[in-house]
Symmetry: C2
Subunit: 222 residues, 2 copies
DNA sequence: TTAGATTCGGTGACATTGTCACCAAACGAA
DNA sequence: TTCGTTTGGTGACAATGTCACCGAATCTAA
């Protein structure tokens, strides 16, 4: 599969008619952006809707009080519905999107997006499913922030960030932004995990020693 | 204005072509539901998209731990995008919608909704604006739950619930669900507000004595 | 290479919020 | 009236957030 027929990479788009897919491929623009770039944020409204072909975009928020929290990530094969939403509503973002890795994305102008929504039932379904998933995920996040204990949240986040590896390259500060808490809280929790022999720490990284124990605490009891 | 041309009540819908409005009026069904009814919830997927003509619907969530939190309210003149979202994504709700008052709503079948999105640019804009507003509101809520102090949140909620009146008919328990906290926390905060002379309490109601002070604490410094 | 600045993580004291186990008063229904 | 339920109060304690520090590791520039 080459970059030319990128619609095949999206389960929701592969079902589109050949005609619609060609329109999408024809009118879109594949762009590359280096890691660390802010692709959208306050005062930086994107002109296009993005379909992420490769890499990860982190969406986070800075509150009036200066606190930061990571809201969600967009992975390859997903579209940025927030971009879409704000494209169409002309509202300012209260959040920003930052490339965590070098990324490749297909950029679609607003008008093309609108045409596609009008013309294709499959495309509509794709878009609304993405919105729906985002909203239900935000519900879950509210629940977690409001009611879940920090040790459970941290264990869960460590598992998620590890991505199957045993070493996570991150700092206590970054972990605190992931969970919307204070750095000191992370430091104490990691010390407790270390005391139990679940993790080991070195400057700038956390090693998972007993993944099972963390998964268990996080409630991954499948 | 009668109930027959209810589209006029929605700023976003009044701009639709006469043709589209007639389609909407023709294919929709105005329903009345008594206060207290759960109009959607887990295992109770709605068949229709709702446009709320009169009354208020409270959307809230019960977590695995048994904690409850109010997510948002739908007021007259708004549509229920969550309903829409889940209509189209066929996912189970993790939230429930409860009528706070007797309500009247226009119910639109899924297929009619889909047709309208396809046919009318104005309708698309209306729908996406509603999604966008919902998502950005959820962002704000996450920020508030994660970082805002309880006294500020409670003051803000009291102002919002008062709706201009000086008496709020509610219990400490209900207020705790509004903010996703414990009843004891509300009791203590209200005692502190009372000590300062900002409110007075009686069983099942809170009286606002110094609205200014509450607004000030809540940051309504316009 | 070294000196100074910056980042990273540790610590203790304290404030705020959440949890638990109670209690009594007010209220409502039989 | 009586009994069960709802509402709100209280104290002890646990968990988390805040603040003011500290030293060590790392980086940077002269």
């Amino acid at each position: 599969m080459t970059i030319e027929n990128w619609t095949q990479r999206f389960p929701g788009l592969a079902k589109l008619s050949a005609e619609t897919q060609n329109l999408l491929l024809d009118k879109s623009n594949v762009i590359s952006v280096p890691a660390g770039t802010t692709i959208f944020g306050p005062g930086n409204s994107p002109e296009n809707m993005l379909f992420l072909l490769d890499g990860t975009v982190r969406v986070q928020q800075v509150s009036e009080t200066g606190h930061e929290i990571v809201l969600y990530r967009i992975h390859a094969g997903q579209s940025c519905v927030l971009t879409t939403a704000c494209l169409l509503a002309f509202e300012d973002y209260s959040a920003e999107g930052i490339c965590e890795t070098d990324i490749q994305a297909a950029a679609i102008p607003r008008t093309v997006f609108d045409d596609l929504v009008a013309q294709s039932k499959q495309f509509r379904d794709f878009v609304f499913a993405a919105f729906s998933k985002r909203i239900t995920d935000l519900f879950l996040m509210i629940d977690e922030v409001a009611f879940q204990k920090m040790d459970v949240r941290l264990a869960d986040k460590l598992i998620a960030l590890s991505d199957g590896q045993d070493t996570i390259a991150t700092t206590h500060q970054k972990l605190s932004v992931e969970l919307g808490t204070a750095r000191e809280v992370i430091s104490r929790q990691l010390q407790e995990f270390q005391r139990r022999g679940w993790v080991e720490q070195s400057r700038g990284s956390v090693h998972l020693i007993q993944r099972n124990a963390l998964e268990n605490l996080a409630g991954h009891n499948h």
